[in-house]
Symmetry: C2
Subunit: 465 residues, 2 copies
């Protein structure tokens, strides 16, 4: 059996290094075909790494044809012909796809958030303390809606920060927005749902997968059009009044009142308010929630900690008005909570002890600085683009003043090594859009200031014509 | 403002002590009506407890009418009349309900598990190490199906312990069985689903809430009847072949083959195998999974760590056969994983490093001892009951030989202070059952040996006539 001793370094994941090392050994002939490799367990012990690490490396090598796994016998290096076949296949594939996948110098991604300043040490401490000796109860099943302490903390926060009127009894904590929409689907039944277009595609896809008919509704500068909504026949409207994604439109109070009165006109009508990244606003007063203006119990409020804390913290919350709450109690309270009680405990303390507010304040400062840097760096483009969606959220929109299409803009940026996103990616349905006004989106949350400036400079050169 | 100084002790939760203290102060006249209490924040600071603790206490007091919460002003002790009204209401309610809610001396609950021997210290260590400095990546979004390391660990375990043939690519990790059934619903569409009756009600309710027509299928001593299944028109059958809940029936290989051939007869037919508490078997060889006998890709395998590890560990897994996997990849892979990456990491190490196997072995020993103790303690009843479902799982069934009905048995046990469960609680549909053969269920996982013996002795006295 071949002894593998691998000089680990810190720059790459360990499994990657094992994978690379074995590949190089094979290519250089030091591991001839048919050599039996140590088992994943033995290799893990030998290298002092976990077994899942060696398993991952072997798995990758098997998947690519370098190793062959024989049941009950172990892993063997593949024969030379196999190896050649694999490499030819790979080359053929690369040839077919033109070259390799494009590598961007700067990706103005809309998905990332800045995790550099996440309070890791604090989180570890809360986690350690929450798992203390006196908290064995955390391992038993908790309440269906989520632990009372967390629901109280969220209600407190929502009341103070967003003006949401909410009792902890109305709040359901769940593992992510999509899970909560699956739950809501069971309370609403197969209703027709109206959505703004463009919109947040995850929610759109979830409704579609659950069998809802989704009707796209055009927006004017104030958000979802009331007449179009009324004409749609939908009973439910999904809106983002405080900062619509991806347009950044803030729905003024008049339109809010119109939507609320639409909802009140008929029994069973509801507005789902997704209060998407309302935490980040850099100028002017905070925009209150739609729910805070709702006197008739027509707003279902949806919020999440994924953006404001971290994507891996899979905690979202759903605030139900009275009739739906009753339906939840009678038909859905048999579901156990989808969030681990340990995470609920950590998060409750994070909010209760003021860390969440401090974290939001810090992140607001960080994102504002990135926002300002991007706006400043884009100023050379002010003759050819107008900017919108600024002063809030974690992305901007650029609208061509020169009649260039979205596709042209995205392609020109790509040739300059910069990834930007076309607005039409977020369209639902086929309502269309003026071809002339090409609009692209630039997210900045996960980029450093240097990357933002480099990206903007490349864009300025590529798009200023 | 009234200063509260509370002499805390360790026996009760802090919020409970605050609640009790304030109630006693009020009853003894030291907090006259209309006294403004400190805010939850101030009281929390004063007592050195978290704000959620004081909030919980106040909330309870408001709910019971002792305190009144005035918006923007704070909390005030209620007027005497209010208090009297509250107490009268309480007394009236108690009077209406006969006496108080029955207090059982022993509850042979089917839900609990034994958490006494949970390896808390080890879990804390894994948790601490998983949150180490080099694991910041855990706070970013992970793979939709769950992290590869955890899926590899589960596949390894399932192959070794249950004979399940499974690639990590086929496995989806999710926050609990019900969530995974919601996902499966989206892959299967609105199919008619056949279920054994009696069955696991959580799964039945989930299918119903999602709009599936569920057809109950009778069982003979070998499990779901093939002819009844074929006649039902269902495309999907949900079964628990290794240890049916609640009957404890083990499906023999012949019936398994019949069901597999039923599934293979028509495209789109599938068997959902819920491998419910297959971990606990005290005699004979382990029963292999149905999936291990499936050569046509017709079995969807569902498992969970809630019973085998802890209810609060909300991790289940779904193994999809090829056609459904493809559908998942194209239609549902946009869903982010519902399990926090930190929990995934801890659990992967728990399995990988052999702790899971050791924990299962330990728990098997503990449950076997409880199982043996219960069987022995029930021997005085051997003239009036036959026992079934023994040698596996964490509950037993008692069948009356004297023609007593389930209701009679449950009532007689209740009068003796013992809670047992009627089999019909788990029936779905209206297929009925012979009135003569009253069957009751006794769970023993969460009881101590003393409680088991006390409960059995009380039952022996109450049911031996």
């Amino acid at each position: 059996m071949y002894e593998l001793t691998i000089p680990f370094h810190e720059a790459e994941p360990l499994y990657q290094q094992i994978y690379e090392y074995i590949k190089v050994q094979m290519k250089e002939g030091r591991l001839p075909a048919g050599t039996k490799l140590p088992s994943t367990r033995k290799l893990a012990e030998h290298l002092g790494v976990s077994r899942s690490t060696t398993q991952l490396a072997y798995d990758q090598l098997v998947a690519e044809g370098y190793l062959e796994s024989e049941p009950c016998r172990g892993y063997f290096t593949a024969r030379l012909e196999t190896l050649l076949r694999v490499e030819q296949k790979q080359k053929r594939r690369e040839k077919q796809e033109g070259t390799e996948a494009p590598r961007y110098l700067v990706d103005f991604s809309l998905r990332g958030i800045d995790l550099e300043k996440f309070p890791y040490t604090l989180w570890r401490r809360l986690s350690r303390e929450s798992l203390g000796d006196d908290n064995r109860g955390l391992f038993s099943a908790g309440e269906s809606k989520g632990d009372m302490a967390l629901r109280l903390a969220i209600c407190d926060y929502l009341y103070g920060a967003r003006g949401v009127n909410c009792e902890p009894g109305q709040l359901i904590v769940g593992a992510g927005n999509e899970y909560l929409l699956m739950l809501l689907h069971q309370l609403l039944g197969n209703q027709v749902i109206a959505m703004e277009t463009p919109t947040y595609r995850q929610a759109f896809l979830t409704f579609e997968r659950l069998g809802h008919q989704v009707i796209p509704i055009k927006m004017d500068g104030n958000g979802m059009e009331r007449e179009a909504l009324a004409a749609s026949g939908a009973k439910i409207a999904y809106v983002m009044p405080s900062h619509q994604f991806p347009t950044g439109i803030v729905m003024p109070i008049r339109r809010r009142m119109e939507l609320l009165s639409w909802a009140a006109e008929e029994n069973g009508r509801y507005l789902i308010e997704d209060d998407y990244d309302s935490e980040f606003r850099y100028r002017g007063k905070p925009i209150p929630s739609l729910q805070s203006a709702d006197t008739k119990g027509r707003v279902i409020y949806l919020g999440s900690f994924s953006r404001a804390v971290a994507p891996a913290i899979r905690v979202s919350y759903l605030m139900l008005p009275e009739p739906l709450l009753e339906r939840y109690e009678t038909t859905c309270s048999f579901y156990a909570s989808t969030v681990s009680r340990i995470d609920q405990r950590i998060l409750a303390r994070f909010i209760d002890e003021g860390h969440y507010e401090r974290h939001l304040n810090r992140m607001r400062g960080i994102y504002r600085a990135k926002h300002d840097a991007l706006l400043a760096a884009l100023s050379p483009l002010s003759d050819v683009f107008t900017v919108s969606g600024e002063h809030a959220g974690i992305h901007l929109l650029l609208h061509s003043k020169k009649g260039r299409t979205e596709q042209e803009l995205v392609r020109a940026a790509k040739e300059a090594g910069v990834r930007i996103y076309g607005l039409s990616e977020f369209d639902i349905g086929n309502l269309g859009r003026d071809e002339g006004e090409g609009t692209v989106l630039l997210g900045y949350a996960s980029l450093t200031r240097d990357e933002i400036e480099q990206g903007a400079a490349l864009l300025a050169a590529a798009l200023s014509v």
